[in-house]
Each structure stands twice: as structure tokens, then as C-alpha cells.
Symmetry: C2
């Protein structure tokens, strides 16, 4: 092929891809609406609409024309010049095309059928706290996910094929290496904190926090850290999420507890973090991998950075606590900043992942990662999950779940076929700390800036170094390009030890 | 073709059509979102999404497969057994297919381009109250609408081809016949009311009506008349509308003026009337003409019936006025029902159509119908529109618009290429009265029921006689089937004369 032909093929490939992105973004609005404003009676029609669009998106993604164009581009400079946007676009389109076309339609349908049924059973099983109800469905799912891994293919471990759905390019070996080093230090830190006997007074967070004020205060904070409400909005949902519809339209959601400060405020910072990432993507590259987010892990690094590294920092609250006192004078007027700061950073082993603090959260993830690896590999029989869960839990957290509902049945993921998803949460925390260290190196005293309510330097740094790069690099490579180092557990462990060492005197 | 082949062809035709409906309903959600919650920055992306879907819907509607199936069905019993749902489905699908495929793509695109530009110019021209700015664009639009009429074809008058877009099957002759008789009686009634010298005190409607209470009161009323909030919702927009997304999802919108009672309340009753129609369609026939609304005129008959014939009746307010007094004690406690009833039924010639009362409203429409007929036929040069408008206005309303902004430039329709749309508003009023008379014949004393807050008999009657019939009959035929008589000006004129005769002693 001549250089000109190659260019034409590349442009055609991008134009087809971009139409699929655009159509997929129509689904995103329907999904957002389903979770925010859809009237009760509209569910069935919505399901029909989404099924139609999903089929059309699938047809676009897997069209033989894309296959032909990819063949034409094989061996061209577009593929060989590694890490250019052009090469990345072809690499990711090809990756996705290959994967999607390799999975037989019958398997896709069977997975949809089985997980749809499993979801209902899981809800019931959790309610009754009876893992045995869920067990046969989990077994079917594991079997089908094996079929999926075999269909897609993998280099070394079938689990890698699943991981790839959420963290493209990540492998069990790479993740395990970091997680293993991470685990022991975490377990020790948690033990030291528990042994310190220090117990923050968190009752100040559990008072009357009127919902309208929670909303306006959290919106002020989200705006301050850089979430742009002219290109987004905040609505109420049962399960908060962020959705990037397209350039200029990135929406976040929240739920409010009128008797608890923490949920909505940190939830909104978290979703705003995801939102800032989506809003920071290059709008000129919209519709191509170069204008898309890298992976769940990198996405989570952005949300967790704003929620925890920034939003739970002392300097953040130096600026925002006086404002909080004005907004909630009845409950906060007489509270001291230090006590508030300690309360929002309480570390306490507990059973439920989504309620966990910044330190123990990662142990919840490591435990799930170890268990799902084991049962997927066959080292652990599915029926042994509850026992092993509780055993591991005891050794990491020093407490034992009283039942399956508060143990191995608490999360929806496995019932949905999301095996390989959990690690991305901790990868997010790890990436966040590593990026944050580098940002501090580049930008000087961020704490000083935060204490003045200035967050734009960090936001701009993230946009330039991460968001605008889209999928030019995969996650691990991106970390190396941005920080000069491969992913390591060190920055996160050091951060946790320093922060919680001070707070708990350990 | 064997009977079996015909059946197969019919079923395939319906399945293709229903996919187009389903895809069109995805656009409806995007359009609803655009007008309610879309962030400012998302407009361009939304336009791209809608353009993509519009193209896909167009492809589905005009697919050669539909053409082939329609040909196969020609002369089959499905077409010859007039007025069965099957015949109606084929009739309407064929009608729409023929029309859509006859208009060249270049004309569709040119119309989109010209009207898009004309809209901006119209906004500017209205602001400056200068018709001459808009004139060249209107000329282009008239020319293109002639091209459209020629492409689509017509039996007698090219205007019929345009009318057909909004009121399928209606003709200028049929409409003119009813409107001409209607006009003189209306002009006389308005003159008599003006001469009566009676002037209601409408200041009671222009006080503090807090928006949250307006919303809850109007919702209560909308619910009472039969709009189902489990299958719908009410949101805020600049220009209120109703949109039927699909079975179980029919949404209405409103705008509120905190200093005026009328706008939101009657606007919401109006949209709820449209909504009750959409919610009353047969869900089993969704995706086919048999499960769709008949025409703009019939749609408007439903909204106007609930807004005016019911919502501005004395009996309605016998029930709701005491509730209004409780909700707005500050402004209504000492007001008498009769005075309130007179205030909401004030008849007063005024320049702006959308602010007009129940009596003069129709004159606004007749005037526009006469003018657009004339300029489309060429009997009236476009540059003469302002002069003729003001002249006619003077003779119907006894007042003369002070400028074009309050005269011939007030409405958006012509700038959008909507020639043939205006008559449907008055057709709606005419159909409403005729249906309402029949309902009263069938159901006994409706006033007595309304005064007790009971509206379900009327709602059920409408659903059975009109909504559930979908497009089985076209508008004129539907009126005959339901009321036993062809459309006539008599019921509306009699209603107006009786009601306003009493109110104004004329």
C-alpha cells in the first residue's frame, strides 16, 4: 500500500469507529436517564431501546469493513511507530475488534442470560444471607468466563483475559507482584492502628445535615477542584456514578443521607474526580481511543486522588472547614478542625467494602482478588468461598463476618460476571499515590495551595499528563511515562503510614 | 401470493416499522433531555447524536425492503378490508413511505439548511420588529415548500400536500368550509363581548404564586384528570411540550411564572391532556400506526378538552377552587368562586396568539390560515404580509398591532417551514367540542362528576373511543365514527356562545 492508501484506510477506520462511539453515547444518555428520571412504567420500553442500540453498536464495532481496514493497516508505519496517537488508535481498535469478534454470539447471549438470572438470585441470597442459593449460578458464571477467556485467548493465564476487560494489558503476574508487597505492610499498619486504641469521635458526622445544604456545599467543593458544571450536572441516584456522554457533557450523581455528612460529600468528590478526567479528555480526539480514558484503574486513580489524597487532607479542610461551619452552624460551630479531620479519617476494620476507610479499603480488595483468582483457577472450590473468605478476613482485619451477607455475598460484581474487576480499585489507589507524588515534585507545595482553595495547578497537571493523553499509552506505560517509574506499592504505603502514623500515633 | 405469504409480508413489514419506531423513540429521549437537563456545553455533541440517529431512522423508514413488502401487499385483503387495524397499518406505512421516498435528499437537506438559517434571522427580525429582514428567507422557504408539494404530489391543491404533514388526509377545501362558517360567528361573538363593556378583575391571578405550590397543585390536578405519573413525569422547560417516549413513558413539561397563576396551571392541564392521549394508546400496538396518535388536530383536541372544556369550566372549579384557596390562602382566601371563574375566562382581543383566551384564540388561527394559504398560492406577495395581517387583525379584533413583532413576526412556525400547521390548532378546538358533546350524551351529567373531582368516566370514554383506536381511522373519519357526524363548527360555536353569553351577558 502507498502511504496515501494507508492514510485513507486509517481515516476510514477512525470514521467508522467514531460513529460507533457516537451511537454508544446515545446509549449512555438512555442509561443515565434510566437511573435518574425514568418513570417506573418505562422500564420495559427502555430495555427494548437499549437492546436495539446495543445490537447496532455491536454491528458497527464488528463490521467486516473494520476487519478489512485493520488488515490493510497491518505492518504499516501506523502500527510500527509505537506510542504515537495513530499507532495507539490502531492498536486499541484492533484489540477491541479482535476480542469482540472472537467471542461467539452464543456465548455473549448465554452470559447475558445467566448473569441476568444470577443477579436476581444474588439479591435474594444476600437478603437471606445464604451463599448456597447463589452457588450454582456462580459455578455457571465461572464456567462461562473460562469459555470467554479461551475464546479471546491469553498469553499465560486465563485470568489475564478477564482482567483485560477492565485493565487492558494488565496481567495476574504484574498485579500480584505489587499486591503481595502491598498486603503485608497494610496488614501491619491496620494492626498497629487497632492496637493504638485511639477512637475518633465520629458522632459529629452523624447529625442533621439537611440534604439541600449537603448538595450546595458538595457542589461548591466539586466546582472548586475543577469539575465544570457548564459541561456537566449533578443528580440523585441510588448508586452514584459518573458518565461521560461526550465532549461538554459529563454527568455525575449522588445519594444523600440527611443524618450523615460523609456519604454524599466524599461520594461527590469521588464522582467529580471521574468527571474531571472525562472533561479533561481531548475533545478533538473524541470518537477515537486517543480521546478516551485508559482503564478502570486509571479512572479510579483520578476519583480516589480527589476524594482521598486531596479531599481527606488536612490542607483541604483548612480551606473548607470554616465554610462547612458556616453552612452547618448547628452541628459544627463548636467542633475543632483537628477533631473533624480525625473523624473523616477514622480507620476501623469493618465488614462492608463500600463503607471502608482509606486504609482498610485496600485489604477488602486484596482479599477479593486472591479469592477470585483461586476459584477461577480451580484452586478453590466455589463452595469453599464463605469459609476461606471468613478465614482471610479474620487474619487481615481481626474480625469475622457474622454471616455471608456481610461477607462473601456483599458485592454485586461476581453475579454480573465481573471477575477481574476488583483489582482495579486498588490499582486506582496505587496509581493515584504515584501520580500525586510526581505532581508534588513538579508543582511544589500543593498543601499550601489547597489550604487557599486553589486546586487548578493539580487539575491542569493531571489534564496535561494524563487526561489529554487518552489511550496513547496503556496504564502501566502511562505511569512510567508520567512518573518515570513502574507502578509500585511504595508511594501509597508511605502515604498511608505517614498520614495515619501521625493521626494514630503509630 | 398465498394468504400465508401475505401474512408473512405483513408481519415483516410491521417488524421493520416497529424497529424504526423504537429507534425514533431513542431520539425522543435525547430531545427531551436537550430541553430539560442538557448542560450548556453539550449542545454540539447532542446535535451530532441526533443527526446520526435521524439518518439511521430515515434509512430504516425508506429501506427498499419496506418498498418491496408494500408492493407484495398491494391488492391483498390487508388493503381492501378498509378500516381494519391491518389495513390502517399498511395504509399509513405506505403513505409515509411514499411521501418520504418521493422527496429528494437534496431537497430535505436544502430545507434543513434554509430553515436553520431562517430561524436565526427570524429571532433577530422579531427582536428588531423588522419583517423585511425575514422576507428573503420566507421567500426561499415558500419556494422550497412548493418543491416539496410537487415532489410529494397532491390531488387538487399544493397546500394539501403540506397540510398532510400535520393532518394526514385533510384538504384546504374541507378545512376552509368549516373555518368559513366558523369565522363570522366568532367575529360577531368577540364584538358582542367587547361591546358588553364587562371587564373581569384579573389582578387576582397576578399575585404571588410560589412556584413549588404551583407545581404541586397542578400535579394534583393533572393526576385527578387521569395523567399517570407512574408512566410519566413533569419537568421544567422554556417552551412546554409533551413527548411520548413509548409505552409507560410519556413526559410533560411546564414553565412557571411566580407572579401569575394561569400560565403553568392551564399549561400543565394542556400538556397532561396530550399525555393522557399518549398514555391511552394501545401498548400492544406500539411500533405500528395502530398504536400511534392520529394527527396534530386530534392530539390538540385532547389537550384543549382538558385545558378548556374541563379545566376552565365552572364545575371543575367547584371542586378545585376550595383547594386552591387552601394552597394560596394569602391571595385567594377572600376571593369568590364566581370572580375567579370569570377571571380565568376573560375574553380580551390581544396581539399575541399564545396569550389569547379561548374565544379569540381561534381568530388568531383563522387569520394565519388565510394568510399562509394566500401567500403559498401566490395571491398574496410575501412583502404584503404585514399590511394584510394588520388589516385583517383590525377587522377581526378591532385593534391594530403596533409593530411586526406583535403582528406577523410573533410565531416561529413559518421560519421552521411549518406551513399548514396553524389550522391544526383550531381543528383541535373543533374536534374537542364535538367529541365532548358526544361524551356528555353517552355519560350523562359530566358537570356533576367534575364538581366532585371525578374525571375517570370522561378519561375512559376518550381512551376507548379515541386513544385505543390509534390511526385506525384518519381524523375526519374518526370524528364520524365517534360522533356519528362529520366535523362541524356548530358544537364549538354553541359552546362558546353559551358559556361566554352567560359570563358576559351577551
Amino acid at each position: 500500500m502507498t502511504r496515501n492508501d494507508t492514510k485513507k484506510a486509517y481515516e476510514k477506520l477512525l470514521s467508522l469507529t467514531s460513529e460507533a462511539y457516537l451511537l454508544r453515547s446515545c446509549m449512555a444518555i438512555l442509561e443515565w436517564d434510566e437511573k435518574t428520571y425514568l418513570p417506573k412504567g418505562g422500564s420495559e420500553h427502555r430495555a427494548n431501546q437499549l437492546a436495539l442500540l446495543a445490537g447496532m453498536v455491536h454491528d458497527k464495532i464488528t463490521s467486516p469493513e473494520i476487519g478489512d481496514l485493520l488488515k490493510q493497516l497491518e505492518g504499516s508505519p501506523y502500527l510500527s511507530e509505537e506510542d504515537t496517537f495513530e499507532a495507539a488508535n490502531v492498536r486499541e481498535i484492533k484489540h477491541f475488534y479482535d476480542k469482540t469478534t472472537k467471542i461467539p454470539k452464543s456465548l455473549v447471549e448465554e452470559l447475558a442470560r445467566v448473569t441476568s438470572m444470577a443477579h436476581g438470585v444474588w439479591v435474594e441470597a444476600r437478603k437471606k444471607s445464604d451463599f448456597s442459593l447463589f452457588l450454582p449460578h456462580l459455578k455457571k458464571i465461572i464456567k462461562l468466563k473460562h469459555d470467554q477467556a479461551e475464546a479471546v485467548g491469553y498469553e499465560k493465564d486465563p485470568y489475564d483475559a478477564l482482567l483485560d476487560d477492565f485493565e487492558p494489558g494488565a496481567t495476574i503476574d504484574g498485579v500480584s507482584e505489587v499486591f503481595t508487597k502491598f498486603r503485608q505492610e497494610l496488614v501491619d499498619l491496620v494492626a498497629a492502628i487497632v492496637d493504638s486504641g485511639k477512637c475518633p469521635d465520629t458522632s459529629i458526622l452523624r447529625k442533621d445535615y439537611p440534604v439541600d445544604r449537603q448538595e450546595s456545599f458538595a457542589k461548591e467543593a466539586a466546582k472548586a477542584i475543577g469539575y465544570d458544571f457548564d459541561k456537566g450536572r449533578l443528580d440523585v441516584t441510588a448508586h452514584p456514578f459518573c458518565t461521560g456522554i461526550g465532549p461538554g457533557d459529563v454527568r455525575i450523581t449522588a445519594r444523600y443521607n440527611p443524618k450523615y455528612f460523609g456519604d454524599a460529600f466524599f461520594g461527590i468528590l469521588h464522582e467529580a474526580g471521574h468527571g474531571i478526567y472525562e472533561q479533561g479528555l481531548d475533545p478533538k480526539r473524541y470518537g477515537t481511543p486517543g480521546g478516551d480514558s485508559v482503564s478502570l484503574g486509571i479512572h479510579e486513580s483520578q476519583s480516589r486522588m480527589w476524594e482521598n489524597l486531596v479531599g481527606r487532607s488536612k490542607s483541604f479542610w483548612k480551606y473548607f472547614f470554616p465554610r462547612a461551619q458556616k453552612i452547618y452552624p448547628e452541628v459544627l460551630e463548636k467542633v475543632k478542625l483537628d477533631d473533624f479531620y480525625l473523624a473523616i479519617n477514622e480507620v476501623k476494620p469493618s465488614f462492608i467494602r463500600v463503607e471502608a476507610d482509606e486504609v482498610t479499603y485496600n485489604l477488602h480488595i486484596l482479599l477479593r482478588f486472591e479469592i477470585e483468582q483461586a476459584f477461577f483457577k480451580g484452586d478453590l472450590k466455589s463452595e469453599e468461598i464463605p469459609g476461606v473468605w471468613n478465614e482471610k478476613f479474620k487474619s487481615y482485619f481481626h474480625i469475622t463476618p457474622p454471616n455471608d451477607a456481610q461477607g462473601c455475598l456483599q458485592d454485586v460484581h461476581w453475579s454480573a460476571g465481573y471477575i477481574g474487576y476488583f483489582p482495579t480499585y486498588s490499582l486506582g489507589n496505587l496509581y493515584a499515590s504515584q501520580f500525586f507524588n510526581k505532581a508534588k515534585e513538579d508543582l511544589g507545595d500543593l498543601d499550601d495551595q489547597f489550604a487557599k482553595g486553589e486546586f487548578s495547578n493539580l487539575k491542569n497537571w493531571l489534564q496535561e499528563n494524563i487526561h489529554m493523553r487518552g489511550q496513547r499509552y496503556r496504564a502501566e506505560k502511562l505511569a512510567e511515562v508520567v512518573t518515570g517509574k513502574p507502578l509500585s506499592h511504595r508511594p501509597l504505603v508511605d502515604y498511608l503510614k505517614t498520614k495515619y502514623g501521625e493521626l494514630y500515633g503509630v
